[in-house]
């Protein structure tokens, strides 16, 4: 049984999905395999039931995702008969861009920011659903639900349209696009409570298990395959860990945890003293760094 709070959030998100499908000619959902994507997929299925979601699902792959994520993605795509598109930026493949030789900034820029831009241009999508939430980071707190992008995919915080009620301005000019965030008003806790209440499947990496990790700069990095390069003195240890957020494995920190099921995760969150983005290495340095990435077209 959903709380009134989650029911309101659910209705709001369903309404958003339907508005986009009714107003745009070529929408796509960005499917990043994480918990937010799992919730979005579930909401999209609800919005159009008994029809299937009338748009493709795009995974912008970096070739450095956890193996478990890829397995999960393919299983879900098969189960729900999704039209799944996997895009790997050809420039990244050609130059063999990776977090070890090129650093996290370059790696993220080529595979994710440019990868996404190229993919959107390649398929000529005019609207893209993303799973960003306003509680994640300061500049996202000011993001619109329908976020307008210029033909260069740029986000100009001063040119965002006022967003009134649930009456969305879906008009765009030629080559302009909209990014749509149906989970804008959800918090991390809401997402987990909804996953619990609706019995939504998520990648097993969210649950605690013994996993091989190395400690690096105070963060636990999982050794997901033999491409992981160890620095002198680093030791691979088996630890009981889980992930609060999922990305490229060398750039995603694990936390030590004994949360083995959804209830455990929610209880852990209720007493948690750190935010989920702390475990993403790309947001560190100064507070405005995510905002800068967004202006360049990062999600």
């Amino acid at each position: 049984m959903l709380s009134t709070h989650l029911r309101r959030l659910e209705s709001e998100s369903i309404h958003i999905f339907r508005e986009v499908v009714a107003s745009f000619s070529n929408p796509v959902m960005l499917y990043s395999v994480g918990k937010d994507s799992s919730v979005m997929l579930h909401l999209a299925r609800k919005a159009f039931y008994p029809a299937r979601p009338p748009f493709p699902f795009l995974h912008v792959d970096t070739t450095w995702k956890f193996k478990d994520m890829i397995d999960f993605r393919d299983k879900i795509a098969h189960q729900f008969q999704l039209d799944l598109l996997v895009y790997r930026n050809p420039d990244g493949l050609r130059d063999n861009i990776n977090p070890f030789d090129h650093g996290s900034d370059m790696h993220t820029h080529v595979w994710k920011t440019l990868g996404l831009r190229n993919a959107l241009d390649h398929y000529r999508f005019d609207a893209a659903f993303g799973g960003a939430r306003r509680d994640e980071e300061q500049s996202r707190a000011k993001e619109r639900i329908f976020s307008f992008r210029t033909s260069q995919h740029a986000w100009d915080p001063k040119r965002q349209r006022p967003e009134m009620w649930k009456t969305y301005n879906t008009r765009v000019g030629e080559n302009e696009t909209i990014r749509v965030f149906p989970l804008s008003n959800w918090t991390e806790l809401d997402v987990w409570q909804y996953i619990l209440a609706e019995k939504i499947a998520v990648v097993p990496l969210y649950f605690a298990a013994k996993r091989p990790v190395v400690e690096r700069d105070g963060t636990l990095i999982m050794v997901d395959d033999d491409r992981m390069r160890l620095k002198p003195g680093e030791q691979v240890e088996e630890k009981m860990v889980r992930f609060r957020t999922l990305g490229c494995y060398p750039l995603t920190g694990a936390i030590e945890s004994r949360a083995f099921d959804l209830q455990d995760i929610i209880l852990e969150m209720l007493v948690s003293r750190t935010s989920e983005r702390q475990h993403r290495l790309i947001d560190k340095d100064e507070g405005g760094s995510l905002e800068r990435k967004k202006r360049e077209g990062y999600f």
Binding site: K46, Y49, K142, P162
Partner: protein
Amino acid sequence: MSDRDAILSKETGKSLLRFMTCGSVDDGKSTLIGRLLFDTSLILEDQLATLQRDSAKYGTTDGDIDFALLVDGLEAEREQGITIDVAYRFFSTLRRKYIVADAPGHEEYTRNMATAASTADLAVILVDSRRGILPQTRRHAYIASLLGVRHIVLAVNKIDLVDYDQSRFNDIVNTFRQFARNLSFSSICSIPISARYGENVATESNLTPWYGGPSLLQHLESVEVEVDRVNKPFRMPVQLVTRPNPNFRGFAGEIAAGKVEIGDQIVVASSGQISRVAQIVTMGGNLVRADAGQAVTLVLEGEIDVSRGCVLSDLHDRPKLADQFQAKVVWFDTSPLIPGRSYILRTEVQETAAAVTALKYQINVESFAHEASKVLRMNEVGVCNISTQQPITFDPYSENRSTGNFILIDRMTNATSGAGMIDFPLRRADNVHWQSLAVNKKARAALKGQRPVVLWFTGLSGSGKSTIANALEKMLLSKGKHTYMIDGDNIRHGLNRDLGFTVEDRVENVRRTAEVARLFIDAGLIVLVCLISPFRSERRVARSLFDEGEFIEIFIDTPLDVCSQRDPKGLYKRAFAGDIANFTGVSSPYEPPEHPDLHIYTVENEPLELARSIEDYVLRMGHD
């Protein structure tokens, strides 16, 4: 039940409260929200570390933690120390989850306040105890009321800086209550607080013994804001039609008001078609009944014509259906709202062309006085009569915020230029129906053996519009065609004698001229209009009055330097000398047509030759 289940079951009982905070610069809004997040333990360790680092860099609190930095997100505003956009924050207590819309206090950002208010159940209005009620406070209260926020908390902040003085607090509260009597609030709760020190924020303060009311958080936890949407007449705006296979046709939408049960009779408001609810479909299983706020898909009995934009409604209490209505409009755009100009009007699910037919008055949002006005500028509020191309289905905004709102979109830039709240349909719309006459345009034109068209000559003053049109009219006459010429200068001597050359008067000038041309077209004539008509949007409105193929836009393209050399009426000379204000091409813009039907270059071409080329085009049209 285990501890773990007990905690989790408490979580599922939570309700949601959406509120906004508003206040002037330095009233301490961001500090208050930062304080609420801190006191409800929503500031996490890593965020606290960032905050301490940022406080040293940008802070204004002499090394103390500056809570405002938690909420002032964008780099630009951090450096300027102001909040420039609505930010949404989230926190929760044992009873409720909260979504806070933080609306900036600057006068020029009224649009952000309206944005925040549109989805808020309650508004916290901050006042600095030392400065008391400011004009901006009245503005904030007015906009909250205008957007339908019914519950107010008056947070009298910085009470520490007036030594927790009771009489100061009472003065401020009395002043507020006095003017708020004219606004439509159903509850006002006034609380003396210090956001910086947390007095009366989460818990009751010991320093205000004279105050017997709740702390801010206690009030937010207990205030009843749920509007009884379920006991209102049923409304469901249809977002889309779901047809996964030939046997299923469902109408998807969110119930905006009331409830619906299987077997209920409903009416499609725009067509009057009546049907019954056969199924209420959701992925979790079919329902017997659904209430306001639920997103569902309805299957109706029989073959019934329903598409996006229809509003499925209570048979006995229907929404209004009109193409003319009165509404309050808030303007957001730097380019002002001009009566007569065409915009896209969008309700939750309908989209149609619309124009303001009359700006009845502007409302001064600080004195609440009605003031005459010809245009509505950014951040102004006005009461307007609006006319739409297609009738729209709505309820008065005071009865239903979902079905009573709309936005206005600029046709050129696609910007959201304004937002409106509908008051009531205009009786005219109900009573005046088009007379269907037996003798019509087609019959009149057939008698003359011609196809009626309007040839719309646009271009700078002195570009040669009248010269070419005069020559053309003579040619057409000699071929036995029935014509009429409307010259911009001439019409300003009679019909449009009352209009000047400001932007709004130019818009009206074009509108009237186009309407007259329409009557002549109806009479079966070939109409030649010579009018500078400098703005694309007005030419587009003019075009929209005519049927497909009836309106020929002819761009008489002469460079400005050539026009000013020709200067047949000596006007450029005076304009360059500054004697004529708003002169097109000199002190007022000319927007050349992007896709004219005919593009006529006059330089090095004889007017007679040009007229002949237009004649060819016109005569050929009739035989295609």
